[in-house]
Amino acid sequence: MKTRFFRPFRPLDPHWSPLLTIGSFLLPLLLWAAFSYIPWLWHPYVKITDPGSLTFLQKNMLMKKADFNSANQKAIVEGKTPAKGIPANPIFLPAPHEVAIAFYKAFTTPPRRPGEPWLHESLWHSIQIIFWGFFYSSLIGLPLGILCGVYPPIARLTEPVIDFIRYMPAPAFGALAVAILGIYDAPKIAIIFIGTFFQQVLVIANTTRNVEYNLIEAALTLGTSQRQLLSRVVIPAIAPNLYQDMRILLGWAWTYLIVAEYIGASSGITFFINQQAKYRIYDNVYVAIIMIGIIGFVTDRVLDDLGKALFPWHFRDSRSIIGSFYNWLKPNYVPRNFPIRVPSSK
């Protein structure tokens, strides 16, 4: 029987899935490669290979196509040797292979000026800013959100003002943050905190509110007290959804990174990007941007996989690499958290 590829809402054939995942990265890469390597596609500049008799030209110089043609025509009219060149893209669009080379070089070449951070140092600094911003936000936001979800009076007392502040863009607090916290890392962490916290409380409160009330009732009829209800029922019941929320919120925190790092003394990956742009090494700018993407993507994949290992009852029948690895490390471990085999009925 012919299986149709486009079936609305039906799950994808499993052996198509990895191919399409690769394809989703390959597609933009191909587009980029096409613009970089096919000479008649865009290429608004000419890269001089031989200046000929035109003294104002130098080898490897970039020149607008129209200017190059008119200069050459003038040279021909005057009986001089015209310059030669090949079509080129502007300097801010390096070709994929140039960025690939830069990827290697960016981690191995020392910074241009002494005292400037290496790429990996810049990235590490940025990761720390994100971590602390998200950590402090979660430290307050997670319990507050859960309490808001469970107790309507607390929600009434806090949510309206949080809704109000939530609409103020986090970078708007930049000047204040610097005035209060100085110019180094503290105001940056504060911006990440402001950008994450208010959304976090509301998202977590909402998730908590959506707890299956059946389970609460079942727990009450089993003799659960109000105090036990929170720790024994509510939190375990919403834990998988909370975990997913936190994953999404962490992604959210990353989007505030660049703005946060502009505040006060520019630092981290933002400083690196700006510095490289000033040196007109755009290859490195791409490297830095792609590195942010890679860090975010890898973190998210790892957290996703870890979630499947931690909450097997929620992510039913999905395999977790971390979970399998853990089971492999501890072969005598009594399966509790990871999918177990149900004995066949007699």
Binding site: N214, L222, P236
Partner: protein, 301 residues
Amino acid sequence: MSSSPLPSYLEQSPEVAARFARIQQRPITLTVQNLSKTFTAPNTPPRLTLDNISFHVHHREFLCVLGPSGCGKSTLIRIIAGLEQASSGSVLLYNKPVQSPGPERGMVFQNYSLFPWLTVKENVMFGRTIAGIPDFLAEAEARQWLSLVGLADYENAYPHQLSGGMKQRVAIARALANKPRILLMDEPFAALDAQTRAQMQDYLLELWRKVDLTILFITHDFDEAIYLSDRILVLSANPGRIAEIIQNPVPRPRNRQQFTSPPFLATYNRLQELIHPVSLLQNPSNLSNIPRLTHTTDQVE
């Protein structure tokens, strides 16, 4: 109310009558007195769901509450469980009024309500560990309850790995682990398929016979009510009132051959009369507004 006169159309054999006499000798487990419940919602007039309900359940009795949908039978059991507050009247368990949920009234829900993050064994242990019983004791108890409901092999499975009937057995074991004075069952088998439901009914009867259980069982299924119960409390709808409390004349032990026995059919007919006073088919005007959409020669009957 305790010894309502026996309706003439439901004749009890001497053995059944003797059984009921024995039941009435036993202590009263649950008393419901003049219970009423009015629901108020904005923009709608207050709705009287339960109107002056009074009855009681003796120790080791199996009482079924039967009624049409919307008669408030779920509200009734939820008030007894303490999950909802009555507007007036009271619920007494061994003469002590109940207001909030408690482990002495075990509840089994239609949708199982098992904790998905706990294994089968941990679900059954839940009530005991909440009560502060040490884990190793709760675990040993849970294993016993699980073997009683025939799920000893599944103690490490998660609820989502079980079938509906198995889930409901875990839910029963979980409620029983608290050793409740009364087991409240809110249409527990309604979500199961017919075969599984029949099995679960037999299973519940067996459990009730062997374990010290007093059961209040809500259902809308006539056969189920007659097959399981000692008495059937029939509720009428809008507002929910007690239409009748029938002393079930079908002798025990029950078996499925009794479905066609005279006492069973007599009870069935009486329930029909009480719950469906006018059948749709008895009054053809109810059906005549469907026009014929097929050719007149199309004879399906």
